[in-house]
Amino acid sequence: DAGITQSPRHKVTETGTPVTLRCHQTENHRYMYWYRQDPGHGLRLIHYSYGVKDTDKGEVSDGYSVSRSKTEDFLLTLESATSSQTSVYFCAISVDTFANTGELFFGEGSRLTVL
């Protein structure tokens, strides 16, 4: 079974500070995703990756950047955090090792609070 570890699991920060969330997978899956979940909005895609150094924007990418220098790690960076970025962030991988099917396996989430 695929394993995903997100870190940190909880973070409180102040407006204007940079924040990086890390997603680590153990099974060499090609496709990785970052979502945010907010009340009333369900899950919304921020960015996704289809390979090392290959990333693209999702529905709500403004204010976020990502990097994938190794297959197993997908980083989400908030260059200058704002209160509107207070949310729960989920990393996910496509269960199919090489294809980007809708069957996703999610990490446990990272709760970010921006004061």
Binding site: Y31, Y33, G40, H41, G42, L43, R44, L45, Y48, Y50, D56, G58, F90, S94, V95, N100, T101, G102, E103, L104, F105, F106, G107, E108, G109
Partner: protein
Amino acid sequence: EDKVVQSPLSLVVHEGDTVTLNCSYEVTNFRSLLWYKQEKKAPTFLFMLTSSGIEKKSGRLSSILDKKELFSILNITATQTGDSAIYLCAVESTQGAQKLVFGQGTRLTINP
């Protein structure tokens, strides 16, 4: 713009009841509809539906898709307190999972 609407947004029932959760959608170039269950933390996959009229079943849960009327239902029979969760519906277009669109979710509470 692709869109998924779930109803009801919240539902409270007693243990043993049967519930039906609804998901209607609009999507360009439909590939699949998926259901996820979210308890305290990560969503977990339940079903993927691609063809109309074919029921997917897992224990007390079942789901069916109507591609003509653009909706799906998730049924849970003989509910248990462990079924309490948020149930998420998502649709995928032929562009792939990067275009997966989720609904707001239905929060289901099962009271003993």
